[in-house]
Amino acid sequence: MVKYESFTLDNGLRLVCNYDASSALAVVNVLYNTGARDEHPQLTGIAHLFEHLMFGGSVHVPEFDAVLELAGGQSNAATSADFTYFYDQLPVQNVETAFYLESDRMLSLSFSDKALQVQRAVVVEEFKQTCLNRPYGKVMHTLRPLIYDAAHPYSWPVIGKEPAHIEGVTQQNVKDWFASHYAPNNAILSVAGGIEPSRALELARKWFGPIPARSIAPRPVMVGDDAWPTQEKRVVVKDNVPQTAIYIAYRMPPYGEEGYDAADAITDILSAGKSTRLFQRLMLATDIFASADAFITASEHSGLLIFTARLNESSDRAIDRAVEMLKAEARQLAVPGNVTQYELDRAKNKFESVFTLENTNLVNLARTLAIAQYHGEDINSTVPRYRRLTLADIARTAQRIFIDHAPAIAIFKNE
């Protein structure tokens, strides 16, 4: 049971606090309700580039990290299609420094030309390191346009469609992005660790309270969010890869809608642990699969349920056979009685275990609290909700995802 308290400031900033009296550390997390899906299709990657620029100096703080490090703190940030979040971890006696720093960059950045120039170069190097120069690094650039309409904001990866988009970002683009997305009324502040909620509220009021609410850009229409494909698409990408790899992506329900938790459970039934179907039936019982996995992208709108596999063979026949075996694993989940109560209970136990272990870490706990607050949920309801899933939920969701609709398939093989 996670204990927490929630507050809302007059400017719309929401605050959620967990208190662990035994901790010498505190984590301050700011989640902004913006991500890559808010980008213009011709200016992709700016949400993530902006995350970098948030460390490039704010209106009263030329060097974010210099001040944080003097307080004994460390920070990091991440951008997804839906959210951007920033966290600071520091000794609890210096926690006010995080409120000071985060509030100053929420108030306004310094918008230095040098920071933009350097961070554009850094992000382009990151693009090369994580996508262009890494085996299978172009998977999301391949899969997303196959399964989403070109106008759907999930059709491009968070890093951006191409380095040229990042290189083309201007200071005016950056200022516009800040003005339309970064504001107290579009953010959630979460705090975990050794700081009492009353103190966190006092500091939030002091530092964030004076920041005025701002007008937030409406989020783009998710074009074709309900139009899941019914025709399978397949591409073969010839690349410098050590092994042939298969990616099969199906569309799945948005967070909070019927079928989301069941889709999550389906991937747990398939691949969470060595006892599960993909490990036992594909990896151990055949010679074709070097690895096989299934996961969801955990998206606010219709995201993806993805199968991945690496093969020990690269012939077209082996690839076709492997694809059919993976699709068969998917399809049979829709047959009533195919999944057993034991498998579902095992997935539920594993889910509870993963949820608990992840949240022993204060950084994870602060982020989980912020996202639960965004969803208007009690963090303690997550495991019980998952535990209420039934076999009928699994079969019905599998029918909708795997039988009623078709996947996009990307094969990566050596040139």
């Binding site: 662990d20 035994s22 010498a24 550390l25 209106v59 009263h60 703080v61 990290d65 490090e69 307080a71 004994g72 703190g73 460390q74 920070s75 520091l90 000794p91 006696q93 210096n94 420094t97 409120f99 100053d104 120039q117 350097v118 554009r120 170069a121 850094v122 190097e125 990151e126 390191q129 262009l132 120069n133 890494r134 002091k206 530092w207 004076p210 410098n240 050590p242 092994q243 642990g273 060595k274 006892s275 490990f279 151990l284 010679d287 070097a290 690895s291 690496r310 020990n312 034991y342 209970d345 095992r346 136990n349 509870e352 275990s353 993963v354 608990t356 272990l357 022993t360 870490n361 204060l362």
Partner: protein, 426 residues
């Protein structure tokens, strides 16, 4: 809003005295050492067992690694399917891996779902069967993982520089070959298991929210493991033998980015120079505000990340500096890195650099205290890396007395650009 002064940061309070909680350690009648540390808000327990014997003793990376991976694939009593199913159904995480001189077996579980887990762990450690079909599947996975690793420029430059700093015959410097993996058989696994999984000489670490019953069950489990006093595996040390300073290139076809790895010899963990050199290495490239990060990433934009770290193992120590970059920046990156390394001796840390460094290191030490698991991880490295007792408090004491002159003096002794061993992918 007007009354709030945003030009002055809140006052910084010194981190003050930190005390690393001591686990309770005892030796069981069968020779197993057990350390226990209870704490934390969550009903979670972790048991980690270090068995002497790893890659160096096996003279193979593949053999001890595959042995560890296959432990849960079948016992004299139960099939691999049953064993993995039991762990998964109880929400438990079983893992095992081999490092230089140890094999580590770990189990993590929720207190509410602990029934039968430790007896099953005892069974798989005592009578693994290493079935051939599972071995074949794991070998395929290992071969695939090796191929994927070999395709990475950072792996290639790191291996090349390891040869220069550790000596080409050091097992850590040698690139694993597919034939090493292919050579592993059920028989070789059984032989290795008999040699390495001896309760006498192993060290177990139990942490989390512990009840008396949990500790008693862990003791009973450890007492159930086979113990052969007098036949504990002897450690095969392989002290580093560095080649003269030089630059080597490694050809990685079709790479869009290149990787630069650099290394310098360093004193052993037992040397009085080790802790000051660790501080100097952190000031050079150990955190966001360090000289390498500020200059090469934040000022020049040559790389997504560059870092330096001091590694101390049972076999030797070295300073390691690494970055991936575009081919057009390689020469400039190396030149700037050499400049920053040289600056450690010639340009004293400013007052602000000094303060940031001290606070960063203190925060790093505080993070160790975050959970009972992180504290126990720290104690485990005492065993695996040969860290002397009192290392935590010694760092705190030396940190408080640290001055820019200390950093300059230690840098002049160890951080010399002309001593660099450099590997670059092309």
């Amino acid at each position: 809003m007007n009354s709030l002064d945003r030009t002055t940061p809140p006052p910084i309070r010194p981190i003050g005295n930190l005390t690393l909680p001591q686990p309770y350690t005892k030796t069981l009648p069968n020779g197993t050492v057990l350390s226990t540390l209870s704490g934390g808000e969550w009903d979670v327990c972790n048991l980690a067992i270090l068995f002497p014997g790893g890659v160096f003793e096996a003279k193979s990376e593949a053999l001890p690694s595959l042995c560890a991976s296959l432990l849960s694939e079948g016992s004299a009593v139960h099939s691999g399917k049953y064993i993995n199913d039991y762990f998964d159904f109880h929400g438990a995480f079983f893992g095992a891996s081999a490092s230089e001189h140890y094999t580590t077996v770990q189990l993590t579980w929720l207190s509410s779902m602990s029934a039968g887990l430790l007896p099953l762990l005892s069974e798989i450690l005592t009578s693994p069967t290493f079935p051939d079909d599972a071995l074949q599947a794991y070998k395929q996975q290992a071969l695939a993982a090796l191929k994927a690793k070999q395709a990475k420029v950072a792996y290639q430059s790191q291996k090349a520089v390891a040869k220069l700093i550790m000596g080409k015959d050091n097992p850590n410097a040698q690139a694993q070959l597919p034939s090493d993996i292919e050579a592993v058989t059920p028989q070789s696994l059984q032989q290795w298991h008999r040699r390495a999984f001896n309760a006498c000489g192993c060290h177990a670490f139990l942490s989390g929210k512990l009840s008396e019953q949990t500790v008693a069950e862990a003791e009973a489990f450890l007492m159930s493991l086979p113990s052969s006093p007098g036949s504990t595996l002897q450690r095969s040390l392989c002290p580093y033998v560095a080649a003269p300073p030089q630059t080597v290139t490694v050809d990685v076809p079709a790479a869009l980015q290149q990787s630069v790895s650099m290394a310098l010899p360093a004193p052993p963990r037992t040397s009085p120079d080790y802790i000051p050199l660790r501080f100097a290495t952190m000031a050079l490239g150990g955190y966001f505000g360090s000289r390498l990060m500020k200059n090469i990433r934040e000022d020049k934009g040559y790389t997504y990340g560059i870092y330096s770290a001091l590694f101390g193992t049972l076999d030797g120590s070295y300073v390691y500096i690494s970055a991936d970059t575009d081919a057009k920046y390689v020469d400039a990156l190396i030149a700037e890195a050499k400049h920053d390394i040289a600056s450690m001796a010639s340009v004293p840390l400013s007052e602000e650099e000094m303060q940031r460094l001290k606070q960063h290191i203190s925060a790093d030490l505080i993070e160790t205290l975050n959970t009972p698991f992180s504290i126990m991880d720290y104690y485990r490295t005492f065993v695996t890396a040969g860290i002397p007792d009192g290392y935590f408090q010694a760092q705190l004491a030396q940190l408080q007395a640290l001055t820019p002159a200390h950093i300059q003096a230690i840098s002049a002794k160890y951080l010399n650009p002309q001593d660099l061993r450099i590997a670059i992918t092309i």
